[in-house]
Amino acid sequence: MAPSVLTAQRGRYAWDWTDWAAHLYLLAGVVLMFGPIAWLGLSSLKSETGLNLFPPTFLPYEQATVDAGERGKLRLFKVTEGDHQGETLAELRRIGRQAQLIDPAHPETIIRRPGAAREPVMQVRAAVENYSGLFSQFNFLRYFWNSGFITVVATLLTLLVNSMAAFGLSKYRFQGREPVFLLMLATLMIPPTIVLVPNYLIATELGLTNSLWGVIWPAVATPTGVFLLRQYMLTLPDELIEAARMDNASEWRIYWRIILPLSAPALAVLAIFSVMWRWNEFLWPMVVLSRSEVYTLPLALNSFQGELTTQWNYLLAMTVVTLVPITVIFAILQKHITQGIASAGVK
């Protein structure tokens, strides 16, 4: 990278080579970032045979078939040598090195050809059965529901509990307020990985193992959320609260009718964080949820990929479905998310 590319120089009129280099760098970056995801998406539309092709095809190819009435779906081949060279025939069955083929137009005549003298007819087709199969062959809806339930409930509780704490810490003067705030910040230094074992004990004692609540409860108090909301609430004028008190509002009403609506921007940032955290969480759910009917999507994905005969067609489809909700949220709220994270400086 040339030195001049390293400096911020805005407001030029003519493009010099550094501008070209910068845009080229970014375009390459976009390919590197989106390429693998696009490849995942394309692959998830391939049938099992399409996935096994090597070298892999760009588009989802699979062998063309023809519907032959009571004989079911037959695969199509192109004969490469001999009598029927160039014709497209459907394979009835294969016996040893001989293949029995029929012409779809004249299904009554059976043509016997050596198996080697033909090649499959390929066509582009999106294998949507990868997706529909998720519902029919796996407990997929259950995983989706588990993930969704945890994400939604934990986020709502996080917003409630954290905003209450932030309100208490920002708008009341009481003995021990500073120590409490510092104590809460100190939990930043106790990442979940450190307390994995004891938390498992506590979850066991509380009967939370193999329960979605076992993932939800430990997550509802977050130092990041308290900090973020407190900093925001400090900027709300105290006069508003005094005005509300003069207006006969109870403290609870002040909290949820005045402070909560006014903290909406900070709550939105925290909500996005929380959704991201809970939807993607892996290690703690893996410890606390061991029965497959309480699996979240990441757990289900992990367990399927670990199985000996990985069914990649379903696994890829499930991966896509897992990333879709986050992607949709990001697409809609892209600006708010990036700005919120940049301003909060946390993830």
Binding site: E239, L240, E242, A243, R245, M246, D247, N248, A249, L262
Partner: protein, 380 residues
């Protein structure tokens, strides 16, 4: 429900700092009282103690005869208009005004009736569905007042409500508030640091300094008979001129380097330090002495009149013009040695460096003793 208010030996301290020390006064039902004082004098704290947002360290606050020291803010039957208005930004004008009534479970039709009435009174009818951010400063101010009105309080409290408005709007709102007071007839307590607001709106002014009440009285009473140096200097704009000197007996005060002034404060004992004060409009410009002569004839006539009356008492001083402020209808001359400001009716032709002679009529001179307290005199 009487809107009288009385404070008995009220104190407030934040830790070791005494913010309010021993304040006592009474406000009658239906009055318009203004607390005025420089910033940090405790006037806002006093107001917040009355409305219940601050606790009282000692003493009693009574509203309508009942001691309310331990009654929560909301149950004191007061309404407050905050300096920043404190409108709920996420609610419409209607919701802002209705919020307090909803909190006490007022029936819907009643809420609508009261809000509509207040809105009509404040000319806010067409803005009811707007959010505060879509309103001008003056309109926000009116919403804040409307929010107070709908609660039908015993006393309205205003905490520097006009300080966020521009000068022109402020004058208009002053008049509106006075009108409102006349129409509602409710007790109003108003805090400001601006003595002009106090003079123009109040029927009673409470002058505060450093947590003390300096003087309580009607505006003109404070203006004409300030009881100490602080009140004398604080009330009136431009402020009263002060000259420090020594009492030489029989009401005369010797100001070193300037001269000797006769006053009516004959009971002032000789020998002590004393300060004389005179308002700019009470100083008379003598006819001529050297330099240029004022062309404004009317000026001279009145000056001449003043001169003649008090010639006998002396009290003439000469000085040079250090600056002139021409306001059209009035002019102010700033003199150097003695450092005084003189108000002249009409316009003047005097300019920088001109020598003038002025006369200080003894009857217009306020005298303050070494402690800054006014020494008895008749009002002019």
């Amino acid at each position: 429900m009487s809107g009288s208010l009385s404070l008995r030996r009220v104190r407030k301290s934040f830790g070791a700092v005494d913010v309010i020390r021993d304040v006592s006064f009474d406000i009658r039902d239906g009055g318009f009282t203004v607390f005025v004082g420089p910033s940090g004098c405790g006037k806002s704290t006093l107001l917040r103690m009355i409305c219940g947002l601050e606790t009282v360290s000692a003493g009693e606050i009574a509203i309508g005869g009942d001691v309310v020291n331990h009654v929560p803010a909301a149950r004191r039957g007061l309404a407050m208009v905050f300096q920043s208005y404190a409108l709920y930004p996420h609610m419409t004008v209607f919701q802002n005004m209705a919020f307090g009534l909803e909190n006490i479970a007022t029936p819907k039709p009643e809420i609508e009736r009261r809000v509509a009435e207040a809105a009509r009174m404040l000319k806010l009818d067409t803005y009811l569905q707007r959010k505060p951010t879509a309103l001008s400063g003056g309109q926000r101010q009116r919403v804040a007042i409307g929010r107070a009105i709908v609660r039908e309080p015993r006393i309205f409290l205003f905490d520097e409500p006009l300080s966020n408005l521009d000068a022109e709007l402020r004058v208009g709102m002053r008049a509106e508030l006075t009108d409102l007071h006349r129409r509602l007839g409710t007790t109003m307590v108003y805090v400001t640091h601006d003595q002009t607001e106090a003079m123009t709106m109040a029927d009673t002014i409470v002058v505060l300094r450093a947590g003390h009440v300096e003087q309580v009285g009607a505006p003109l009473e404070l203006y004409n008979n300030p009881c100490n140096l602080f009140v004398a200097g604080f009330i009136g704009s431009p402020r009263m001129n002060f000259l420090d000197g020594v009492s030489v007996g029989q009401g005369a005060v010797e100001v070193s380097g300037i001269g000797r002034f006769e006053t009516l404060a004959t009971e002032l004992p000789a020998g002590g330090r004393a300060t004389i004060g005179i308002r700019p409009e009470h100083i008379r410009l003598d006819d001529t002495i050297g330099g240029r002569v004022s062309d404004a004839g009317g000026n001279r006539v009145s000056d001449a009149g003043g001169n003649r009356v008090s010639d006998a008492g002396g009290n003439h001083v000469s000085g040079t013009v250090a600056g002139v402020e021409q306001l059209g209808g009035l002019s102010y001359l700033r003199l150097a040695s003695p450092d005084v400001t003189v108000q002249i009716a009409g316009q003047t032709g005097l300019g920088y460096g001109d020598a003038v002679s002025v006369h200080l009529p003894p009857a217009a001179i306020h005298v303050f003793d070494a402690d800054g307290l006014a020494v008895g005199r008749r009002s002019p």
